[in-house]
Amino acid sequence: MTGTGGGNRNDDRERNESFVRDVLNRTSGSACDRACEQLSDLMDGNLEGMDRQLVQAHLEHCDPCRTLAVTLGWLEPLLPQMAEIDPGPAFTARVLERTTGRTRLEDPATAVPGGAAGLMDRVGRWWDRQILRPGFAAQVAYAATVILVLLTAVPGAPFKDAPGKALQFVQAGPAVPAVIRPALDQASDWAEGQTSGVVTAARTGVNRRWQDTESSLDQRGGRTAPGRQELKVHVKQMISQVGDGKLGEASYEFLAVLQAGSRIWNDWWNDNDDGQE
């Protein structure tokens, strides 16, 4: 009997609500808009007297407005707590490097020289800044994808036929000599095994803390610094010699540039040298 009584009460309440809604719809319209206008004032404690009572009465009967009021209730103390975000210690270091360490161009002692040398110096500084940016890897990947598409997928692209030829090669399975076929199968099995290993390794890598990555970048930056300096010097000399028409000497400098590039490449990837410099 109790359950039936509760059910009747709910039915009565529902009927009353429905009646009030119908009357409002046929007369003044829904009171929700007006209630919403005053909700902020209610939460701020700026609503008093009759206005306060009217809004509270509305909230007792209106689920959506009550939910909105509850959300406003927890938003109010939460928003000021979002005024500061801890970006981590590396952030300060990067800002200091980009300002006091790198951007004091107005200081005569560290002023960038003009001409080709200045250009190389500026390019070097720009590159140093870029490589430390958090979004750098994603942007490089994006640029690489765009270049790949431009080279292979756009009408008139120089390597437009490359994907088709690669596909033909893969599809030409039966035409592959019988001796090569088992080797390909073995290679396929091996690749499958390696793939799962690579996926596991990649997942582990992704789970590494950002600090590790950052530390690695710092170390690599430090390791490649001499190489980059060397590269700048040789490029500068090469440009200068080309400008003077000394093409023979410029070609030697070009070789030196290639060697410096190779050294940077090795220093960047050779983790065994960490801490030795």
Binding site: C36, E37, L39, S40, D41, D63, P64, T67, L68, V70, T71, L72, G73, W74, L75, L78, L79, P80, Q81, M82, A83, E84, I85, D86, P87, G88, F91, T92, R94, V95, L96, R98, T99, T100, T103, R104, D107, R133, P134, G135, A138, Q139, Y142
Partner: protein
């Protein structure tokens, strides 16, 4: 620490003073950048750019009393410029404001912390459903706590307009949150968890 003296030292090229200034304000600048762009890496990059801009413009801040307001104005201008550039060149990724770095002001209870952190993420996502002007008002007034007069000057809007828009912006934000968090009855980190 005397802020006026600190600013003067920064303007005279004292690197230690500049470091202190950066540490004092980096949390706030990062929060403003995150509020405007809604994506972590992008916000951190932008926050660095803001500091570079501040460093180059330090000599233009002549009234130490208004340094906070000056700093916020530079940050806001940098964010607006960044968003304009982004409209021309869309971001590499979409903008789910996920997984922000450790948010300031920790607490002892892990469950409370989880709710708070989840709600902060929800708020950041909801912020990007608002109109630009309402988002700015929420970031500057409700999050950064700037006086309405300062916001009025920054946005070049009458004080009364900022005041009325502020109430509407909060309601719009609450509405966006309830919609994202499972409709009018709220989700696990919204209304019912209170």
């Amino acid at each position: 620490m005397d802020q006026s003296e600190l600013l003067k030292r920064c303007q005279n090229g004292d690197e230690l003073a500049w470091e202190v200034l950066v540490r004092q304000h980096q949390g706030r600048i990062c929060s403003i950048a995150y509020g405007y762009v809604g994506e972590q890496d992008e916000a951190m990059d932008l926050a660095q750019d803001i500091f570079v801009r501040v460093f180059k413009s330090l000599h233009t801040c002549t009234d130490p009393e208004k340094f906070q307001s000056w700093l916020t104005r530079i940050s806001r201008n940098a964010c607006i410029d960044h968003l304009r550039r982004r409209k021309v060149r869309p971001p590499l990724r979409d903008i789910p404001a996920e997984d922000m770095v450790a948010l300031a002001s920790g607490g002892p209870n892990p469950e409370d912390e989880w709710i708070k952190s989840s709600r902060q993420k929800l708020v950041h996502r909801a912020l990007h459903r608002l109109s630009e002007i309402n988002r700015e008002i929420i970031v500057l007034k409700d999050i950064q706590g700037l006086p309405l007069e300062d916001i009025s000057g920054m946005l070049d809007l009458p004080l009364g307009t900022v005041k009325s828009r502020s109430s509407r912006a909060r309601i719009e934000l609450a509405r966006a949150i309830t919609e994202m968090d499972g409709g009018p009855h709220g989700g696990p980190i919204g209304a019912e968890a209170v």
